[in-house]
Amino acid sequence: QNIAVVTHGQANDPFWSVVKNGVEAAAKDSGVKVTYRAPESFDMVAMSRLIDAAVNQKPDGLVVSVPDASALGAAIQRAVKAGIPVITINAGLESSKKLGALLHVGQSEYDAGKSAGEKLKEMGGKNGICVNQEVGNVSLDLRCKGFADGFAGKTKVVPTGNEPSEVRAKVKAALDSDTSIDTIMALGAATAGEPAVAAAKDSGRLAKIRIATFDLSAGFLKAIAAKEAAFAIDQQQFLQGYMPVSFLALHAKFGLMPGGNVPSGPNLITSEKVSQVIELSAKGIR
């Protein structure tokens, strides 16, 4: 069988590379062929063409992420109309059913952000910044928005690039110019989380600042273990790659399909749980 996976995350994005690893593991385990495709930037127009291209090849199943239901709707509906079973992952929980997908695996970015915000508020945070390494990428913007809504305190977005040294300098600048900041929410562990920890060290206030991040990286997990950072939100995105592929493989073979959506997270990694995760993270499984 052939299963096509089309997502909105670039292949070199650490988060999505884990999803892709999950897809490949499932393909091996279930003995199906998969192709994983994604546009090279957050580009909904290009992504809908990639879905079309995948559908043209009449796959036995289609896995898509849906960060923009109106832009991708037509392409997904075309697949559904052609009788191809579709599972949505990661983003798109709200629109999954409406578009005719069988089910959704994953969790909405907004909800993950919200629960992280609530947790940080619980830990005593009052004034937070959200370090966004790709402003305009709707999934990242939703993470920030969720954080702001859950945190319910004073929040501000700090837009940065992908370069650790630049992120570090900007976070330090933010901390230095507003000494009441006590919470940092980073939207990526390696790109934003680790430099944020370094910046907090540079500004001499590491002890007073709660740092949390989306996704995992070995470096950030070490900081959690050392109690320098608070926690990391893990969507267990490996599952978002693995499960839909094996579901669709089973569907093609035996017509089986679970009855409802599968939430893969959120899962907060705090200092207690960190030790088991570090090695897996370095291998691209968590």
Partner: protein, 374 residues
């Protein structure tokens, strides 16, 4: 050494003994764009050999021609501007900004399509004029001026989207708002749907296994793309304006001294490039029904790549619209084509870079061989 006596025997020479016969093929290959044909053939050949054959049925063709056409419309504007000796790096951001203007004028101001489209084009045109005015006034390179515009427009798109949506970076509901309005078919949807339906019925077009047609019509952007290419080619080769564009790019000082209105040409080209981007914004916004702050990201870059593959010189004064057309198709084919192969996505960029390089090298060597240059 020749003895001086020879001096008297000046041979009677025929008119053009100094010009060797040249094959019509070589003559054709001298045109800047026709080198790109070689690249196109090479890339097509590669995919024919490697990719799923559905890539080249009509549905597959339309599938990769659609993004190629969207890129191509921008590449046309960019290549005209490049021939005129300037760059516009802000056209990628312009797609996002014009998308915002268009989306907001429909969903926030509730304007009809017939007002929103001219408004969007006008705003783009004004930004083009501003870019041009700064470049001309200060004599700064257009690279740096339009780079500033790149950042500013991208930033304004973000701010504007947040304003228009009340905090989100994604504006939706545009397609619904214009449903059924006059002239919608000019910018959205597909043409020749009747013809395609008949063809599918007669099994001349591919279907899905459950009998659904794979393709229901020709996306309107492909029609725009072909039409604009023809128009740009005509202007470049057959009108005084075209001559002025080449002259402005070739040597602005010499062009000005020969009486070419260099300023006006430059302003006009900036406006055209900006409007092409705005047109792409309108088409893609209507197509996807939404717009977001990342639309058109790095498209300026891809447009320039397409123009260069098609034979435009970065230094100006040389190039063609058909070249940009072919370059966009090559680029679009490589971009989407990977999906039809079994190559791992991780290798995508290596593949893209390799194909570009091979296509351009092949172009170049074929043209040199045929025209006998060295």
């Amino acid at each position: 050494m020749n003895p001086p006596g020879i001096l008297q025997s000046s041979p009677a020479v025929p008119v053009d003994e100094r010009i060797k016969r040249i094959s019509p093929l070589a003559k054709l290959m001298r045109r800047p764009e026709l080198g790109a044909v070689a690249g196109l053939i090479l890339v097509t050949g590669f995919f024919l050999a490697v990719a799923d054959p559905v890539m080249f049925n009509l549905a597959g063709l339309v599938n990769f021609l659609t993004p190629a056409a969207q890129l191509g419309i921008m590449a046309l504007g960019a290549s005209l501007l490049m021939i005129g000796g300037e760059f516009d790096l802000s056209i990628g951001s312009m797609v996002a900004f014009a998308g915002l203007i268009f989306g907001a004028s429909i969903t926030v101001l509730h304007l009809p399509l017939l007002a929103a489209v001219p408004l969007t084009l006008a705003v783009a045109g004004i930004i083009g004029v501003v870019n041009a005015a700064i470049v001309i006034r200060t004599g700064l390179p257009s690279f740096i001026v339009t780079l500033a515009a790149l950042f500013i427009l991208r930033g304004l798109s973000l701010v504007g989207l947040k304003w228009a949506t009340g905090g989100s970076t994604q504006l939706r509901g545009i397609a619904e708002a214009v449903q059924g309005q006059a002239f919608l078919g000019l910018f959205s949807g597909k043409v020749f749907e009747g013809l395609f339906a008949t063809l599918t019925e007669h099994r001349w077009l591919p279907r899905f296994d459950n009998g659904e047609p794979m393709i229901t019509g020709l996306p309107v952007e492909i029609v725009w793309f072909v039409g604009l290419t023809a128009l740009a080619t005509w202007v470049l080769l057959r009108t005084p304006l075209g001559n002025w564009i080449f002259a402005t790019g070739g040597d602005p000082a010499a062009a000005k001294n020969s009486g070419v209105p260099v300023r006006h040409i430059r302003i006009g080209l900036f406006v055209v490039a900006a409007m092409c981007a705005a047109l792409v914004a309108i088409i893609t916004v209507l197509d996807s029904g939404s717009t977001d702050a990342r639309r058109g990201f790095q498209k300026e870059f891809e447009a320039i790549i397409a123009a260069v593959i098609g034979g435009c010189l970065l230094t100006g004064g040389y190039g063609s619209a058909v070249g940009a057309f072919l370059g966009s198709i090559i680029f679009g084919m490589v971009m989407i084509g990977l999906t039809y192969t079994r190559i791992d996505q991780d290798w995508y960029l290596v593949f893209l870079g390799g194909m570009l390089l091979v296509a351009v090298l092949f172009n170049n060597s074929i043209r040199k061989r045929v025209t006998g240059e060295r």
